[in-house]
Each structure stands twice: as structure tokens, then as C-alpha cells.
């Protein structure tokens, strides 16, 4: 990447960060000096709204890591105000595609052969383009139809520059603000996840692992990665066609019941997360399809994650305690999952649990109630940030949030227990 581009990106991020910081700091300092009370909820909400809009604008113009950063922020309801979550949720990572010639150069360099030696046909226009890579349809010499995912040529450099910029800004911000939002851990997490997504060999191994997990499940389709034709920046996969999972009309037209699709989808993720402890952590609608026969297709295993031993059972216990309002079981589950008290106060989780159990008389395992309880939990932690939420939990909550969005779109809800195959006792 050219020096001028680097400087330009640095200045853009720095300028926006300074404007945001001042937009919060100036009014609050002025109020303090004038002896006025802090701004009311409506004023703060409007300010959050404006700021979130500004961040979104920056991300859409800069793409790359900024998009990923916004997506990460949108998952942290325990850290950021609701206005940020709502606005930045809209941040999708569709970007203009790179030219075919640049793609060809990457594939040929990566696989060490001319394109024609590997592929009988290679569609020059990509079918999808995201922040790190784009996908082309092709046909191998032996006639197999494939999808080829190719990493952008200069993506490593862009990511390094953007991450460095954001790290500097976070440090400056933490220096000036005595009670900062904890942005550096978030950035660290983002760095880890981007590392996963750029490692195509890891992605191939993850896809195989999930494919093996569902090998005997006729309702799930995980495309095979052809490792002999894949490299560090190129993945060649079995081509699979299906209806995008949020296209309800097309699903109904195919004779499928959207409620079954939702339940099957929930089953797949519950099985990966709770039972296998290893999951594809990016179930946005662009990565999920349904075949006309009703099989769920899952693609893109770049962001896949192994959970610590016992995490699935711990998560199940937490869900269970939330749904049955069992305070002491909730406290045990928080601790087993790795939630930590920032103050060291042993009552931290008891107070958190009390807030959760006080909200209703009777629980439910229906999707809507589960979502409400998760929202309530994050809100409680954000309002009184004494608990440190483990990053694995955040990632899992993000997955369930995506699934919930898909369920909404399909006009149905999933029941967690049913997804586990429960029939009751």
C-alpha cells in the first residue's frame, strides 16, 4: 500500500476519533463548570445516535478493518449504548470487487500454476465480495463445479495499518479519559478474529471439522474444501446452490416451512456450540442457504472458534438458570463460564442474578423470551459494568443474535430445548 494511502487512512480515523471525543467531552465539561446536572437521557441518546451515524459513515467510506470494527461494536451491548448497537448492526461488509486480473495474479501466485492449468472455466465477475476476500464461480479441469474464494492482494497491509491506527487512537483516548470504555481488549479480540479470517488453511480445517460433525445429518450441507487446489490465499470449494436463508417467499415457494428452517438452523448451532464446543461464528444471512429439499447450507468458516472444555455445559446451565429464575444456579454458571468481577466483590453476580430473576414470574424456552433475557443481561452489565464478560460468551451471544434476526425475518421463533431434541419428561 502506498505511503499516501496510509497517511490518508490514518488522518481520516484520527479526525473522526477527535470529533467524537470532543462531542462528548466538551458538553460534559461545560456542564460541570457551569454547575449543571449531567445531560438527560434524551440528550445523550441523540448524541449517541449522531456519533454512531458518524462512525458508520467512516466505516462505509474506509471499508476494511473499520467495517469489522463496527460489526464487533454492534455485538457488544454490554459495553456500548443501544444506539450504537442498532446503527452499527447495519454495517454489512459488501465491498466493490477487485479486478479479475488482480484476482488471477493472487490465485496463480498462491497455487503456483496458471489459472488455465487448474480451471476449465473461471467466471471473471465475482458472485460475492466482502471486506477480506471475494468469491468466483469456476469449473475444475475434471469438470467439478467449484466456488473459489480469493483474498485481496493488499489486505494484510491494509489491516496492519488500520489496526495500528486504532490502537494509537485507543491509547490516546484512554490517556485523556479517566474512565474510558475498554476499547483495547475489543481491538485485541478483533485482531485475533481477523487473524483467523485471513488464515485460509485454518478455514479449510475448520470447514472439514464441521463437515465431519454433521456427516450423518441429512439436513445439513457443508461444502467440501478441495485442499489439493487450495493455498494460503485461495480456497477452492464444492459449489452449492440454495435459497438465501432470509428469502422467506422463495422458501415458501419451494414448499418449505420457514418454521422448520428456523428450528433446523437453531439445531445446527446448538449442536455446534453446546455439544461440540466448536462453531462457525459468523451466521449472517450471506453465509446461510437452504436447498429446495430443505437442507441448510453453511459456508464461510473463517471465523470459527473452539470453546474451552465445559463451556457448552456451562452455557446450557446459564440458559437453564435464566429461564427458571434460579439465582444460585445463575451465579454458579456465571463463574463457570469465566465471568469475572472487576471489583472483586463476591456479591457481583448475586446482584446481577437478582436483577434477572426479578423481571418475570415465569420463564420460557421460546426464542423471544431467550432473547429478552440475553438483552437484559447485557444491559445490566453495561449499566453497572462490574462484571467482565468472557469473549467467548460475547461471540456466542453474537451468533444467537444473528439467528434471532433470521428467525424474525422468517416470521418464526426457535425453542432452545426443542433444538436440543428435548421431548420433555
Amino acid at each position: 500500500m502506498q505511503l499516501a494511502t496510509r497517511v490518508h487512512r490514518t488522518l481520516q480515523v484520527g479526525r473522526t476519533a477527535a470529533i467524537i471525543w470532543l462531542s462528548y467531552k466538551v458538553p460534559s465539561t461545560t456542564r460541570k463548570l457551569l454547575g449543571r446536572p449531567p445531560a438527560d437521557v434524551a440528550t445523550m441518546s441523540a448524541r449517541h445516535e449522531r456519533t454512531a451515524e458518524r462512525v458508520l459513515g467512516l466505516a462505509l467510506s474506509m471499508r476494511g478493518v473499520m467495517i469489522k470494527m463496527c460489526q464487533a461494536i454492534a455485538t457488544r451491548a454490554d459495553v456500548f449504548p443501544r444506539e450504537f448497537i442498532e446503527r452499527l448492526k447495519q454495517c454489512h461488509d459488501a465491498v466493490p470487487a477487485k479486478s479479475f486480473e488482480r484476482v488471477r495474479a493472487v490465485v496463480e501466485a498462491d497455487l503456483g500454476k496458471p489459472l488455465d492449468a487448474i480451471f476449465l472455466e473461471f467466471e471473471p465477475t465475482p458472485v460475492a465480495a466482502a471486506s477480506l476476500a471475494q468469491v468466483h464461480l469456476a469449473r475444475l479441469q475434471d469438470g467439478r463445479e467449484v466456488a473459489v474464494k480469493v483474498q485481496y492482494p493488499d489486505i494484510d497491509d491494509i489491516i496492519r495499518t488500520d489496526l495500528r491506527n486504532m490502537q494509537r487512537i485507543c491509547r490516546v483516548y484512554e490517556f485523556f479519559d479517566p474512565q474510558p470504555l475498554e476499547l483495547l481488549p475489543l481491538l485485541q479480540e478483533l485482531t485475533t478474529h481477523l487473524g483467523f479470517e485471513l488464515d485460509f488453511q485454518r478455514e479449510a480445517a475448520c470447514a472439514k471439522r464441521v463437515r465431519d460433525l454433521f456427516a450423518d445429518d441429512t439436513q445439513v450441507k457443508i461444502p467440501e474444501v478441495y485442499e489439493e487446489w487450495s493455498g494460503e490465499r485461495t480456497l477452492v470449494m464444492e459449489r452449492v446452490d440454495g435459497i438465501k436463508i432470509t428469502e422467506k417467499d422463495a422458501i415458501v415457494e419451494a414448499g418449505l416451512d420457514p418454521a422448520h428452517v428456523v428450528q433446523d438452523l437453531m439445531h445446527i448451532y446448538v449442536r455446534m456450540i453446546l455439544a461440540a464446543g466448536f462453531f462457525q461464528a459468523d451466521p449472517h444471512p450471506g453465509n446461510l442457504f437452504v436447498t429446495p429439499e430443505g437442507r441448510i447450507i453453511v459456508i464461510d468458516f473463517g471465523l470459527s472458534k473452539e470453546l474451552p472444555e465445559g463451556f457448552g455445559l456451562g452455557l446450557f446451565e446459564l440458559m437453564f438458570s435464566l429461564m427458571t429464575f434460579n439465582e444460585s444456579a445463575m451465579v454458579r454458571a456465571f463463574e463457570e463460564l469465566g465471568f469475572r468481577s472487576k471489583t472483586g466483590d463476591p456479591n457481583t453476580f448475586l446482584l446481577l442474578a437478582r436483577r434477572m430473576v426479578s423481571r418475570s414470574d415465569s420463564g420460557s424456552f421460546e426464542g423471544e423470551f431467550t432473547e429478552q433475557m440475553t438483552d437484559e443481561l447485557f444491559e445490566a452489565i453495561r449499566e453497572d459494568p462490574v462484571a467482565e464478560v468472557p469473549s467467548d460468551f460475547v461471540l456466542v451471544a453474537r451468533v444467537f443474535s444473528f439467528l434471532s434476526g433470521i428467525a424474525h425475518t422468517l416470521g418464526s421463533r426457535a425453542n432452545v430445548l426443542q433444538a436440543m431434541g428435548a421431548t420433555g419428561n
Binding site: 455445559l313 420433555g424 419428561n425
Partner: protein
């Protein structure tokens, strides 16, 4: 509905609050440090939770049904498959240090008990519209007026009172001294239960919500009846001092669960018998005998469970066992001895609920 006679003088209408209310106890039930539901009366006798009105109510509904000339449906004890591993096999494993399969089995039982909470999420259609005969003052009329909720609370616990889930965990932890829970518990559980797609409708003419509700009730009833064998197994195993560190406490805990489950079996068989004694309205306004529907659903459930459950349990245990003892010097001998203790069981040819041609 036939054989309508004078009503009984028993009280047959109850509020939800009544059906959820407890008998008074002087001492709570504490299981391995966890406060559980129920408790002990002045005579030191265990009293199940939420039975102050629920037990007499179920008796009254059953008397009423009998008074009206209808039978309570009965699932034959011959249909209950033995628990695998048998008590003798389980003791063999525990005394030889192969604890994991038993810890896993007990943990799965506790989770499945907790799954009982989903009964409160059952969508109940308007039964006054879907049942052709009156349902006032029946168990059927009280499903959403406390019966399902009481069942859910009994199984999964409610607020800070543990239910059967926590009681099985407590029995396991006391008897086996807080064992490490195998990491594959949920995978094993879902591997067996995770088949999706649901059963094909048997009676599409009554509509999916009604069939789903009745099917789930039939299924839960069968599981509850079969659980009787599991309680016997649990009590025999965990109250044996040669394998249990807390034979009295662990055995008693399972006996309490067994006592708590009785109202579940009784209200479910009562409500399903009430449907059996009535006609159902199909979605196009025709009439279908409730007996045909209930018997059809029970027959299917019983046939599936009696055929599949023993095999699934055997496979689960065998798989876990082989993996656990693979590296031990006496693995082969242990497996041989385990297999020698295998009891054979063949499900009866009939379930007692075979569809009738006339239906």
C-alpha cells in the same frame, strides 16, 4: 361422550394459584447443599411440591371420569424396557473405576428431567372449540391453569428451589463425590435426541396444534411411566454402600423424585383419558372420536420408544465404556464380564393401543 350421569360432589374446579400451592412443611429439602422443592412434614415424611390441591384435584377428576363410565387409560408395565446398564453392570463399572459412563448416564437423566420445563411452552389450542363435548371441571380444562406450570416447575426447578434436575445432580454428586462431568454429555444427548423433522402427522384432520399438543402429552406420559424403572435403578444403585458414598441420602433423593412424578403420570393419563372419552372436531367441522386419536398417538410413541430406547442406551453406554477402558490392562476382561451381565428384553408384540379398524 356417553354414559353421562349425575356429577360427583367432589370439587373439580381449581384456580392456578391453588394448583401451584404447597402443603405446609416444617423442614425444607436440602440436597447436597442445594435447596430443593418439597420438604418434610411434622412426622418427618417427605411431601411433594405443589400438591396441596393438585393431588385431590387429580383424584376428583379421575373419580368423575370413572363416574361417567369411562376408563383411565393404562400403560402396561410389560412395555417398560429395563434400564441399561443394569444395576449389576453399573456396579461392575463403578467398582472397577470406570465411573464415566455412569456419571454421564446420571447427568443425562438430570438434563432430560430439566427438559420437562418445555411443557409450559406447549401451545394449547382453544379446547372448548376443538373438543365436541364439554370440558368444564376436567383436568383438560386445567392444563394451562396450573397443571403444565406445576409440571414444569417440578422438573426444572423454580427460582431458588431446585427441581428434579437439581435433585438428580445432587444424588449423583453425593453418591459419587462430585465427579468430573464428561465433556461429551450434551453431544451424546443430542446425538440420540437431535434427530429433527418431527413425526409425520397421524391425524392432519384435527390440525397441527392440537395433534402436536396431544402428541407431546402422550410422549411425556410414556417417558414418565418408563421413568419408574429408572427410579428403581437409581435407588438400587446409589443406595448401595459398595458403590455410593452417600447411600442413604442419594437413595432417598431419588425416592423423593419418584414420589413427585406420580402427579405427572396421573394428570396426564387423566387428561388424555378425558380426550379419549370425547369427540374431537376436525378442522373442517366433522367429528372424530378422541379415542382413535389418543390411541393412535400412544401406540406410535410406545412402539418407537420400546424399540429404540434399549438399543440407544446400550450403544451409548458401550461406546463410552470402550473409550474409557481402552487403555486399562483389564479392559478386555471387564468388557466380557459387562457383556455377560447383559439381560435380554424383547418388547411385547402389542402396545394395547393398536388402532381399531372401526376407528
Amino acid at each position: 361422550m356417553s354414559a353421562q350421569t349425575e356429577p360427583t360432589t367432589d370439587q373439580v374446579d381449581y384456580t392456578e394459584q391453588e394448583l401451584l400451592s404447597d402443603v405446609s412443611c416444617v423442614e425444607p429439602l436440602i440436597a447436597n447443599g442445594v435447596r430443593c422443592h418439597g420438604g418434610f412434614d411434622e412426622d418427618g415424611q417427605y411431601r411433594s411440591p405443589r400438591t396441596r390441591f393438585r393431588t385431590p384435584a387429580i383424584t376428583a377428576w379421575q373419580r368423575q371420569l370413572e363416574h361417567q363410565g369411562h376408563d383411565l387409560l393404562q400403560i402396561s408395565p410389560d412395555l417398560i424396557p429395563p434400564t441399561h446398564p443394569s444395576v449389576a453392570q453399573a456396579k461392575l463399572l463403578l467398582t472397577n473405576g470406570a465411573r464415566e459412563p455412569i456419571v454421564r448416564a446420571l447427568t443425562i437423566i438430570s438434563i432430560v428431567e430439566g427438559f420437562g420445563a418445555m411443557i409450559r411452552d406447549v401451545k394449547v389450542p382453544n379446547l372448548r372449540e376443538r373438543v365436541a363435548d364439554p370440558i368444564d371441571g376436567t383436568a383438560l380444562d386445567h392444563l394451562t391453569q396450573g397443571l403444565f406450570e406445576a409440571h414444569a416447575r417440578d422438573e426444572s426447578g423454580y427460582r431458588d428451589e431446585g427441581g428434579h434436575k437439581q435433585m438428580w445432580e445432587a444424588a449423583r454428586d453425593a453418591a459419587l463425590e462430585n465427579p468430573k462431568i464428561p465433556g461429551d454429555v450434551l453431544m451424546r444427548l443430542m446425538g440420540r435426541r437431535g434427530r429433527r423433522g418431527g413425526a409425520q402427522p397421524l391425524f392432519p384432520e384435527i390440525g397441527e396444534p392440537l395433534e402436536r399438543m396431544l402428541g407431546l402429552m402422550a410422549n411425556v406420559l410414556v417417558v414418565e411411566v418408563i421413568a419408574e424403572e429408572t427410579f428403581e435403578w437409581g435407588i438400587s444403585l446409589l443406595s448401595d454402600p459398595s458403590v455410593s458414598a452417600a447411600p442413604d441420602a442419594a437413595g432417598a433423593m431419588i425416592a423423593h423424585i419418584r414420589a413427585d412424578e406420580k402427579p405427572h403420570v396421573e394428570y396426564l393419563r387423566t387428561a388424555l383419558s378425558e380426550v379419549r372419552a370425547r369427540d374431537l372436531k376436525t378442522i373442517d367441522g366433522k367429528i372424530l372420536p378422541g379415542r382413535a386419536v389418543i390411541d393412535g398417538l400412544l401406540h406410535r410413541t410406545l412402539r418407537e420408544i420400546t424399540r429404540n430406547r434399549p438399543r440407544e442406551q446400550r450403544e451409548d453406554i458401550r461406546e463410552g465404556l470402550e473409550a474409557q477402558v481402552a487403555h486399562t490392562p483389564n479392559a478386555r476382561a471387564l468388557l466380557e464380564e459387562f457383556d455377560a451381565l447383559e439381560s435380554s428384553w424383547t418388547p411385547p408384540e402389542t402396545t394395547g393401543f393398536e388402532p381399531r379398524d372401526a376407528a
